[in-house]
């Protein structure tokens, strides 16, 4: 991939005032992304526009495909040709991408998919925020699998977590989602882009096996992740969306092959959960009520928690940075002192079900928000007061 000098030349180190979409594009470039395929869609278009301008400057490729199905397919192709690749979209495009997201999962393709979430279903509210696609990210493509999804709640995190998304996708050979709501995507804030050498960048493992007939491109290491050969290096390997064995050969009639492959695709994420999951806990140690939130709702949640503390209520915030795999343990370990959870989301109740599952009987209050406005801290504060009365 890139040399240190090349890397520093392309990273816009310094202080910036930019929106979340642009910060996301810069994060991708800093992570080594050199291929972007996409299709215009509000409110993610600014990512495409930034990449169209920046990719030629950094010797990368920008291509506007005919739709999001093609965009996702092209991203997988580029990744198999050895280039870090990304696409960005919103709900309707995300729906179209699901088919080839499944292909990326099955062929263990490192790639990043950004979804700047707007209001759905269908065309919904293109310019309004939403957090309605978090379950679609988890279960949108058919079959059984594990993916990784991150939820930035600031413009700085749009940069940082896009870098992290690439690192995770390269480490685990899995599609990684950056699930941002429209507010985080369009909000302007100060962003610090570090010096290139201080940005942690992970590149996929390369095979050490010899070329030839016995080469097994899907033979995992002990971390359950196979090193990745890329096209054009003499490995002459085959990859398929069909259930396959370690050598990439279709195995459509073997229960054993199906079990071995699909279970490993799940296990390589499940067994590395501790390394993957990030949450930010604020004043949770002694909390009697915990707000569990992500994205823009977490910012209102933090404000509400601070207001509650000012009135003597022991409130805390568990901010989900990783949505998938879901941080069960991080919720479960606070139930000995937390009497109730409050979950504000810009949907009709999606991650709240995961919180309920992990809370194992501890009451969970849900606070829905649809349309233009995010939650107000005062609304969350009211619910904090109510759950403590019960």
């Amino acid at each position: 991939m890139l040399t240190a000098t090349e890397k520093s030349k392309f990273v816009l180190s310094g202080q910036h005032f930019m929106n979340g979409d642009v910060a996301c594009a810069e994060g991708a470039i800093a992570a080594g992304c050199r291929f972007f395929a996409g299709y215009p869609i509000t409110p993610a278009t600014e990512i495409a526009e930034r990449m169209a301008r920046r990719m030629p400057e950094v010797d990368g490729i920008y291509i506007q495909m005919e739709d999001e199905i093609a965009s996702m397919a092209a991203v997988i192709g580029a990744s198999y040709a050895g280039v870090k690749a990304m696409t960005a979209t919103s709900g309707p495009g995300f729906s179209l991408m699901q088919e080839n997201i499944g292909l990326a999962i099955m062929t263990e393709t490192p790639c990043v998919i950004v979804n700047i979430m707007r209001g759905g279903p269908s065309t919904g509210q293109p310019t309004m925020p939403g957090q309605q696609d978090v379950m679609q990210a988890r279960w949108g493509t058919h079959g059984d699998y594990e993916i990784i999804a991150l939820a930035p709640s600031s413009v700085q995190e749009m940069f940082d977590l896009t870098v992290e998304a690439f690192n995770l996708s390269e480490t685990y050979r899995v599609p990684v989602f950056v699930l941002a709501d429209e507010i985080v995507g369009h909000m302007w804030e100060r962003v610090t882009i570090p010096h290139a050498e201080s940005i942690h960048v992970v590149n996929r493992k390369k095979p050490t096996q010899l070329h030839g007939e016995d080469y097994a491109p899907f033979q995992p290491d002990r971390d359950l992740v196979p090193p990745m050969a890329v096209f054009g290096q003499g490995y002459r390997f085959h990859a398929t969306g069909l259930t396959h064995d370690e050598r990439g050969r279709p195995r459509t009639d073997s229960s054993e092959a199906q079990t071995r492959l699909v279970q490993r695709l799940c296990d390589k994420i499940r067994k590395n959960k501790e390394k993957i999951i990030q949450v930010e806990n604020v004043m949770v140690e002694d909390a009697e009520v915990a707000v569990v939130a992500y994205g823009i709702a977490a910012r209102a949640g933090l404000s509400a928690v601070r207001k509650a503390r000012a009135t003597g209520i022991k409130a805390g915030l568990i901010r989900l940075i990783t949505l998938w795999p879901f941080p069960d343990e991080q919720i479960a370990k606070v139930v000995n002192h937390v009497k109730a959870f409050v979950v504000p989301e810009m949907n009709c109740g999606q991650m709240v079900r995961e919180v309920e599952r992990a809370a194992k009987g501890t009451p969970v209050a849900f606070l829905s928000k649809l349309g233009e406005e995010p939650h107000r801290p005062s609304e969350i504060l009211d619910v904090i007061g109510e759950v403590l009365k019960k």
Partner: protein
Amino acid sequence: MTTEELVHPYERFLRKGMIPHIWCEGCGNGIILNCFAQALDELNIDLDNVVVVSGIGCIGRVSGYTNTDSFHTTHGRPIAFATGVKLANPELKVAVISGDGDLFAIGGNHFIHAARRNMDLKVICANNFIYGMTGGQYGPTTPLDAWTTTTPYGNIEHTFNLIHLAAACGAVYVARWTALHVRRLTESIKKALQKEGFTFIEVVSQCPEIFGRYNKMETPLKMIQWFKQASQVQHFSDPAKAEITPNKIVVGEFVDIEKPSYGRLLKDMTTRAKQR
């Protein structure tokens, strides 16, 4: 004769671990693969630089059988996938070998846009008039009145003329042969492999088992006889008139033009962008 002596002349083009193939006896897919291998052989192309991409369907399995880097995509998406491969590594020769349903029904949008962009891809379509893998449903090239499992009263849909479509979308090289025209097909593949830009070769191919059997051509031979009797070589004739009917299959080269490829324009644009 010992078994060691029984080596196929193109064995080095085949991924032995994948053989035996899944195709039926008498299928045209093997002929297409053979012609592709012969073209690579005669051009002495380094197989390490070739990527074969296919979609879903009977011919979709071809990528598994070629001893190159290869990828078997989702249904209809080989061209979109191949676009990513070619752009990410322009040194690679990227061939898409897929079927009529894959490329022109579910994947039609990708075909027309890749042709419009003049993306440097070598597309070969095995047109067998039918969805064979799923047991014989009609597709975008199924002839009018044909019997398929989903046209039990005869097909009432007009067909795509793939040659006309490819030419109209901007492909720089367009040819049609049947699986009978082995020598000419090989020559066309060689031409396409050497030409920069989006090339398209339609191979009218026999599916005796799923198509012919139900449409008065019960054996592979009968289908081949149809190709032999009906084919008319009409080089550079009007693609709009390149019909396929029971009595006439217009074959030949239809388009061979020069036009800057996407890759070339991209390179120029990148140079301009970096000078700013």
